[in-house]
């Protein structure tokens, strides 16, 4: 019986060893934790491109669909005779510069689906930090085009990120260094990338100039913490676009200051 037992042990261990061996022979890819990318005020285009390439090939997961394949438009070489992404990005949407188009297509991908492809791309501004997003834009511009992303773009138009390794769980010191100045918060949170306020910003999402006439401070606070809780009339199709991570990025004092500031906009 000992011989039989040994054979059984051999079969079990052999089977386990085979599966383990095969799993170790294939390419090993670990899912990294997004790290906060710190780019100084004097960051050069080359540094941005290098950082962007790393994000593109790594945690961005861009190559999954955008490599040279057919699941999504080719971003590294020519796409059906239209040139590389750095060449064609400025021609995709009339009146939009290359970096403007690239940012918006990362922030709201379903609005810019290239004909022949499916709307499968996630909102990358939810996945990556503003620094990472702009680094990727710089990298994409470098693919046949001119890199015009600068450090000033990053705080000016970034929308959001929850990818800091210290985030989550409701903690954190808050955006804009914890400042309770509503304008600083609005700028740091990138609200104007979608909303218009006092003549500034975009009109993708509801104009906030008179938001106080429509919503109370409590309603605004709730909307920031839980964007899906109420959708403004006429913007139903954009439901889900607003990141739900502002609650994690603002501290309580900032949230209160922002809600009161906006509520005062009658």
């Amino acid at each position: 019986m000992w011989a039989t037992n040994l054979k059984i042990v051999g079969v079990v261990l052999g089977t386990l060893a085979l599966y383990t061996l095969i799993a170790n022979e294939i390419p090993q890819v670990q899912s990294e934790v997004p790290q906060t990318l710190t780019l100084g005020a004097n960051v050069t285009p080359e540094q941005l491109v290098a950082a962007g390439e790393k994000v593109f090939n790594g945690i961005g997961g861009c190559t999954t669909c955008h490599g040279l394949g057919t699941r999504a438009p080719n971003l590294l070489t020519d796409e059906k005779g239209t040139g590389q992404i750095g060449v064609r990005c400025g021609k995709r949407e009339p009146g939009k510069s290359c970096k403007q188009y690239l940012f918006e297509s990362l922030d709201n991908p379903t609005a810019y689906v290239v004909p022949g492809y499916q709307p499968i791309m996630p909102v990358m501004t939810k996945q990556l930090s503003p620094e990472q997003v702009w680094a990727v834009i710089a990298f994409l511009e470098s693919q046949g085009g001119t890199v015009d992303v600068t450090a000033s773009d990053i705080p000016a138009t970034s929308t959001t990120s929850s990818t800091s390794t210290t985030g989550g769980g409701g903690g954190g010191g808050g955006l804009a260094g914890g400042s309770t100045d509503p304008k600083a918060i609005i700028q740091a949170a990138g609200c104007l990338a979608c909303h218009k306020l006092d003549g500034q910003g975009q009109v993708i999402a509801p104009d906030l100039t008179h938001v106080g006439a429509r919503r109370s401070a409590e309603s605004i606070r709730k909307k920031i913490l839980d964007p899906a809780s109420s959708i403004a009339k006429g913007y139903e199709k954009l439901a889900g676009i607003m990141p739900k991570t502002f609650g994690a990025m603002l501290n309580a004092a900032q949230l209160e200051a922002l809600a009161q500031y906006l509520a005062a906009h009658k």
């Binding site: 799993a23 170790n24 090939n57 499916q118 996630p122 939810k126 989550g168």
Partner: protein, 576 residues
């Protein structure tokens, strides 16, 4: 949320110790091992009662006491296995509460009432088991026996509800309702809202079926061990039959498991596309190649066991020439299914390959080809069962020839539909192509159901070509059952890693981030070592359970002059 509550939450988040660590292996490895081994035992103690209650019913309503004794033999093993499940469960809870205290506090804030229900049901389940086992010989006849069988059914009901409750916790981590944000106070989340999340029911269904598969495979391994250790032909015949029953149940349930998996995958995509893409095309894409390899092993080994088994069936030699063709289809199907499609690769690797898909193999790696391959493999395995089932009989009903022709036509039509939609899938949009897989699955299921019904009707009064020679199996057939059990268990670990790993660095997807030093999701190499370790721990403990079960009481096998015949008769209820 009130301002005060928000401030309190933030203060707690900032000041509470978020993570602990475990000596030598680290916190993540400790929780991984305890969760995995607990889950394997849980699957064992949920799968085997299903097996036990069905075999007891066959014993009651079929009048064959052998099934009753078989059922009792497995229930005896459950007693020890329950203790092991509880011990590993307790270790998991201690691990979570001491190593991940903040996360554990978050979960308990939402799910505390369900945790109390869980604990209460576990008590009820345990006492039902004690009554079921210790009342076996007392409630043996008439109405009392039916009452005893009802206890077995209740045991399954409690176990399933317990599993559903635990599933709600882990599926909440994967797919919290969309209105829940990082700042949502967990105490304000309605319990049912959290339980009924997007992936809860697909996981429930998937796990119920998978537990049947797992229970059957473990039963098969147990029987094969007893077969190899048997000292008489009669004992060997008994355990040969038991191994066959276990394998039959495992393979039958395996056939429908991919459909439940498909539903789960679809729900994941619908809940969050980026999660779906991470799973199928992101860093986990290679995992599916490994999964395909494991499934190929299961199909090939399961069929191999059946083909060897035909050697003990008089009349089976008629079908032996077909097995090589079945083997060819299975191997080709496995190769297509295992063909990589979208691999995560950097720009240099993509450029070297000439695209994200291999120029030659890329066409085989798409879902059209894979769905076609797996459906043809399922049809082939079903055909193997059908040949096995008919091996020692010759139908005598007047329409036998017509019936066989109709069965053949059904196979041809199902295969034709599968191939047609497989090829057509290359010429349509992805969204249309995804819908084709439903037609392929329906064609295969319809074929299985209709052919089985015809076969049952055709077998009425069939002429026997001789009794099955139970026990006349070469030892290699029993090692095949061991490979099946190990592979099922390993596959369970792998799929657990896939399900849990797609959350990546989130404890609760996009709600609570993992900020520990173990937040990164490891590569498959590391995961495979952990899985193998867990499988080894589980199998060693199961072997111990079997051994201790044997010490407590001798096998329920009872030698009788009619051993082979009785076993042969019994097998008719499941496969024959």
């Amino acid at each position: 949320m009130a301002d005060g509550a928000l401030l309190l939450l933030q203060a707690a988040a900032d000041s509470t110790r978020a993570y602990g660590d475990f000596p030598v292996i680290g916190a993540r490895a400790f929780v991984w091992i305890t969760a995995e081994v607990h889950l394997m035992f849980a699957a064992f103690v949920l799968g085997v009662p299903m097996f036990a209650v069905v075999t007891e019913a066959i014993g009651i309503f079929g009048g064959d006491e052998r099934y009753d004794r078989l059922s009792k033999e497995f229930t005896r093993l459950l007693l020890v296995a329950y203790s092991a499940t509880a011990i590993w469960g307790a270790m998991l809870v201690f691990g979570l509460s001491t190593l991940y205290p903040r996360f554990w506090a978050y979960l308990t804030a939402i799910f505390a009432p369900s945790m109390w229900v869980y604990a209460a049901l576990f008590f009820v389940e345990s006492f039902t088991l004690y009554l079921y086992y210790y009342g076996w010989d007392r409630w043996k006849k008439g109405r009392a026996k039916l009452g005893h069988w009802t206890l077995g059914i209740l045991l399954n009901v409690w176990g399933t509800v317990v599993m559903f409750i635990a599933n709600s916790w882990l599926t909440y981590m994967m797919s919290p309702p969309r209105d829940i944000t990082p700042t949502t106070d967990p105490t304000t989340i309605k319990l049912w809202h959290a339980i009924a999340n997007a992936t809860w029911m697909p996981i429930n269904v998937h796990r119920v079926i998978a537990n049947v598969v797992f229970g059957g495979a473990i039963v098969g391994a147990y029987a094969s061990y007893r077969f190899l250790a048997a000292k008489s032909d009669e004992e060997r015949a008994h355990y040969d039959w038991m191994g066959y029953v276990g394998n039959f149940i495992a393979m039958s349930a395996l056939i429908v498991l991919p459909f439940a998996g498909y539903w789960l995958g679809r729900e994941i995509y619908q809940y969050d596309q980026s999660m779906g893409i991470t799973m199928m095309g992101g860093f986990m894409s290679w995992l599916w190649v490994i999964q395909a390899f494991l499934i190929a092993v299961l199909f090939l080994t399961g069929n191999y066991y059946l083909w060897i088994g035909m050697g003990r069936i008089p009349g089976a030699e008629r079908f032996r020439p077909y097995t090589k063709w079945l083997l060819i289809i299975l191997v080709l199907g496995a190769i297509v299914w295992g063909t990589p499609h979208t691999m995560i690769a950097d720009s240099k690797e993509l450029a070297a390959m000439g695209g994200s898909h291999h120029p030659l193999l890329g066409a085989l790696g798409v879902m059209s080809a894979k769905n076609t391959a797996v459906n043809l493999m399922i049809l082939t395995t079903f055909l193997s069962f059908l040949l096995y089932r008919r091996a020692n009989t010759r139908p005598v009903v007047p329409w036998a020839r017509t019936g066989t022709i109709i069965q053949g036509a059904m196979f041809a039509i199902a295969a034709g539909i599968v191939l047609f939609y497989g090829i057509r899938g290359y010429f349509v949009e992805a969204i249309v192509r995804i819908g084709f897989s439903v037609y392929q699955v329906l064609a295969v299921l319809a074929c299985i159901v209709c052919v089985t019904v015809i076969d049952i009707l055709m077998a009425r009064g069939a002429q026997s070509l001789g009794a099955i020679r139970w026990g006349k199996m070469p030892p290699r057939s029993q090692y095949a059952l061991f490979i099946l059990a190990v592979t099922f268990t390993w596959l369970m670990g792998l799929m657990g890693f896939a399900r849990s790993g797609i959350r990546q660095y989130w404890h609760v997807w996009q709600v609570m981030q993992d900020t520990s030093k173990y937040a990164a999701t490891p590569a498959l190499g590391y995961a495979s070592k952990m899985i193998s370790l867990c499988v080894l721990i589980f199998l060693c403990l199961v072997a111990f359970v079997f051994w201790i079960g044997g010490l407590a009481e001798k096998s329920t096998f009872v030698a009788s002059g009619a051993g082979n015949e009785a076993a042969g008769k019994g097998a008719r209820h499941v496969g024959h």
